[in-house]
Every structure is written in C-alpha cells, then in structure tokens.
C-alpha cells in the first residue's frame, strides 16, 4: 500500500513511534486481561455466595470449631431453607507459601443442601460423593487433579494416607478447582487432629464443623435470617452474599481503576508520540502537500490521506502490542497453570478493543498535524525547500 511505502521513508522514526503505541497497547492488553480474570473470579464468587449465608465461629473466621448442635438450632429458625455443615481444612497442614488459592479439603454431607445449591459442579471423570460414602475417598477439583495427574480410579496421598479418587471435576475458575471433596466424617477426624490438644480433649470428631452453610427459604431476606442466626447461636458470625460482594467489590473497583489508569497513561504517551511524528512528517512534506493542493487535492482529501497514515501507525502499534501482550498472557498462564495460578483472561473483546482503540488513537493524533498541512497555501508550500 502507498501508505506503507510512505511510512517506510523514515523507517527509524516510524518504528520508534509505533513502539510507543505498542508499549501502551501491550500494557492495556496485559492489565485488561488481569482485570478480566479478577472480575470473572469475583463474579463467580459473588454468584456462589449470592444465595447463601456462611456461618462461622465469631472469633476466628473458620478456624475454630462449631458444633453440629448449632445446625439443629439454625434449622429451627424462621426463613431457613436448608442447613449444610462443612469442615474445611487445608490440604497440607503446613502449607508452603505460594501465589493463588491454596488447596483445601472440604468435608460435607452430599444432599444436605436439599436442592438449594445452584452452583453446579460438573464431572470430568468418575462420580460425585454421595451421602453413604465414608472413609478415604475423595472427589478432586480440576486444578488438584491436574497437579497430581490423576483421574477417577486412581489414588492420591492426603496427609500421609492414600485416598481413592472417586471422580474429578471440570474447571470452574473458582475455589472448587483447588478443593478436594471428602465425606464429612473423614474431614471431622482430620480436623480434630489439627486442633491444639487442649481444645481437642473436650471434643468429639462427629460433633464438629467449622462452617455452616445456610440456604434461606425462597423469599426470605438473607440479612434478617443472618441476624437471627447470630442471635440464636452463641459466638457466631455470618456473611451474606451481599456482604461478600461489598467487601470484594470495593477492592476490585480500586484495582480496576489502577489498571485503567496505567493503561491510559501509556496510551496518552503513545498518542503524543504519533502527533509529534506526524507533525515532523508534515513539515518535511510541505512541498509535496503544496503539489497535491495545486493539482486539485482538496483540503479534506489531504486531511484524510494524512489521518489514514497516522491510523496505520496506530494499527501497526496495536497489532504488535496485542501480539506481545498475548505472548506474555499465554506464557505466564501456562507457567502458573499447574499450581492453579491462572492470572490472565484475554478475551476477544479485549483484543478487538485494543487494536480498534490504537487505530483510532493514531487517527485522532494525526488530525491536528493533518489540518495544519491542509491549511497551507499551495503556492508558498511549493516554494518551500
């Protein structure tokens, strides 16, 4: 194309300008992908917590034991649909420090949700836990299954004991991916072992829970039910879906704002670079612009031709920036996938937006230099040396 030929007149200058845009778009792509992933996870989390109330010990979230007796108390309250006791403990009692969600063992009684749980876990292999399952059996989330390289029928080592893998799940991009689901009784026994001896002495495994998931009845207000629970059960703390969204929501707003701010700054710099380059290019081509005007090129045409050039600079910067950003996203995601750390989600919308935005940025940046060019008097422009 003629425009490419024109741009290759000054290869170094054009390359540097394109690099400016590339850096801005690269930042936009990488950070937007990060935001996409976080927003996606938050969305899933919000979805998960939306219809339930999580009850834990009032003092220390989830780490102190509650009693199964509390389940009875809660079940008797107004507006409560189903009550599901859980024991959630770390997979590894001395977890190594890592990025991303640590693996957890989740002990439940399948079916205790009485159909209230709408967040479905799809199977990849094997079968789900059923209420009758006992002992050392486990259903693994997708990330753990991949980490240990097992499917249904295999075995996996948990805290020194061999567990039979009943099934593995499809990825959910949420916490179940890093959970191993075991029977409640098995989890209770392990939990008792984790507690400090002084506390454990006075307790029995089968009466323990460290989380009680409460499903409000259809039409009941979760906030009211949560308040009733806190009143009825000694030493309890509740968290509703609304509270979860609020807490997380505030953080993500700030996070997203930082991301957008960084990308915006990079792009302003890139845009200024295009303005500068186009202005220089126009100054060097004063005579040529005079020729075009003299032989009948209207001002509008001259502007269009120059804005198109600037747009191509933006487009090239956008494509390269997208390519490099995608490379980073893919490489980092692959590196982190086995440990469950998938940081980026590069969607088609983000990609299209990045390239479209850079092209338009280039065109807009080219308008003022183009307009200056078009306003030149053809005769004086022709005499310019």
């Amino acid at each position: 194309m003629r425009i490419l030929r024109e741009l290759s007149r000054r290869k170094l200058r054009t390359s540097l300008t394109i690099t400016g845009i590339t850096i801005g778009i690269w930042a936009l792509v990488v950070f937007s992908s990060l935001a996409n992933q976080i927003n996606g996870l938050v969305g899933m989390g919000s979805e998960y917590f939306a219809d339930k109330i999580v009850v834990t010990d009032g003092m220390a979230f989830g780490s102190s034991p509650m009693r199964l007796d509390d389940v009875e108390i809660i079940a008797g309250l107004d507006g409560v649909g189903a009550v599901q006791p859980k024991v959630e403990i770390p997979w590894d009692p001395d977890p190594a420090i890592g990025f991303g969600a640590p693996d957890f063992l989740v002990g439940t009684i399948p079916g205790a949700d009485a159909g209230f749980e709408t967040f479905t876990l799809e199977l990849a292999t094997g079968r789900q836990l059923i209420a009758e399952d006992t002992g050392n059996v486990v259903v693994l989330g997708s990330t753990i299954a991949r980490k240990y390289g097992v499917v249904a029928g295999g075995t996996v080592d948990i805290r020194g004991e061999s567990f039979e893998v009943l099934g593995t799940l499809q990825p959910t991009l949420s916490s179940p991916d890093t959970n191993g689901f075991i029977p409640l009784s098995t989890a209770q026994a392990l939990y008792l072992g984790d507690l400090p001896p002084l506390v454990a002495e006075s307790l029995q495994a089968d009466e323990l829970a460290n989380q009680i998931v409460v499903f409000p009845e259809v039409g009941a207000d979760p906030t009211t039910v949560a308040a009733a629970i806190e009143a009825a059960v000694e030493n309890s703390a509740t968290m509703t879906g609304a509270e979860f969204s609020e807490t997380v929501g505030a953080t993500t707003v700030i996070f997203n704002a930082i991301i957008i701010g960084v990308a915006a700054i990079s792009l302003i710099v890139g845009g200024l670079s295009v303005i500068n380059t186009m202005a220089m290019s126009v100054a060097e081509r004063t005579r040529e612009i005079g020729i075009r005007r003299a032989i009948g090129g209207s001002r509008r045409r001259i502007v269009r031709e120059l804005v198109a050039e600037a747009g191509v600079i933006g487009l090239l910067g956008g494509l390269i920036g997208l390519g490099l950003g995608a490379a980073v996203v893919v490489l980092v995601n692959e590196a982190g996938r086995s440990s469950g750390t998938v940081l980026f989600d590069l969607t088609a919308q983000t990609a299209a937006f990045a390239v479209g935005f850079s092209t338009i940025l280039g065109m807009v940046a080219g308008i003022i230099p183009a307009w200056t060019a078009a306003r030149l008097d053809p005769v004086s422009a022709l005499r310019y040396e």
Partner: protein, 240 residues
Amino acid sequence: MNLIEATDLRKTYRLSRRTSIDALQGVDVSIAAGEMVAIMGPSGSGKSTLMHLLGLLHAPDTDDGPAPTLRIDGVDATTLSDGERTSIRARSMGFVFQSFNLVPTLTAEENVALAAEYAGTSGSAARVAARASLASVGLAERAGHRPMELSGGEQQRVAIARALVNDPKLILGDEPTGNLDSSRAAEVLGLLRRFNRERGQTVLIVTHDQEVGAACDRIIRMRDGRIIADERVPDVQFAA
C-alpha cells in the same frame, strides 16, 4: 466567448504588519480557447502572480479598487470558496512547474493517476487514464519508475502527462523549461504545442526565455505588476 475574461485583477501579498508586496497592480486580460500564450517579464513583474490568479491558486483582491472580474469558461471565479477553486483546478486545469514537482514516493503512473483521482476518477480507471497519458508523452515504459529514477526531461514529461490526464481546458506552465537543457526544453515545448494544436487545449506559459515566447501564438509582456504589451507573434518560430 473567451475561455478567460478578467478585469481589474490586483494582488497584494502581506509579508508582515508593515511590509507588503504589490504584485499585481491592475490587469485586464482575455484569452481565447485554443490560444498558446506566453507571459513574459523580468522578476517582480507579476507574471507568476497573474498565473496564480488565473490558475485559481489565489483569489484576486477585492479591496483597494474596482471589483475584479474573473470568468473562466463562463464561470465567475471571484467569489468561489477554496474548495470550489480546488475542484475546478482538479478538473479543468493542468499545471506544469519549473522544478517538476512530482511526489517522490509515487511512481510515474501513480503521480499521474493522483491528478485523475483528485478530479473524481476512481482507482483502476485512474490508472488506465494515467497509462494512456504517459503513452501520449512517450513514457509508457517508464510508468513504474519513481521520480528519482528519471532524468529531468523525463520528469517534466511525466508532469505534463499529469497535467493532461483529465483533458483540461487550460494548461498552465510556470517556467516549464527552466530546469532543462535546450534539447529537453525543445522536447517539452514540442509536446505542449502538439497538445495545443491537436486537442485545442489552451496553454499559458510564464517564462523569461525568448525562445519559448517565440514558439507561442501571443506574448503578453509585464512590468511592475501591469501589462505593458500584448502582441501576436508574427510567424511562430519553432524548430521541432
């Protein structure tokens, strides 16, 4: 009706708040279709300015004197906007300059096609017209070359092809032979004469070369912004 009818043409160029140049002091001129006219005079005589006005590159001054009239092919050109003047230039006029003024990044064919595009002809039709125009000046095989690969004479012939591609009514040359040696100059002059005789295109040449003047039908002489003589050339001298 004459192709160009103009009266009371004036032009002052303002260089700064205090200095200005009175390039044209008041000129009346008529040019019939099909004439080949030379406009001659020393530098500062206003000959280039007259050509710029007749070529609609600038508009005549309307203040400081009687209202100017400028009719080109029957159209009143004194009140046209820049866009309208540009449009007429594109369709009805062809320019040939002393320093060729081809776009350096475009090939000969693309340079000529550019003029066609500006006149409203689209892509492939423009290129076809460009090739035909280049053929008529004998440069068909050089169509794919860029200006820096062409000699001065060839570049000027490309410029003529460009000036002719839209079959304009008026061809304006500003010292078209100024940068050429005598044989190339004769070649260029020959082309202009041929198109003038064969296609009836009106040709206006600003020059200070006597031989160029002698090759035209009519010489308008200027001095200090006015026409001081306007004579027919008795027997047109031209050695092919």
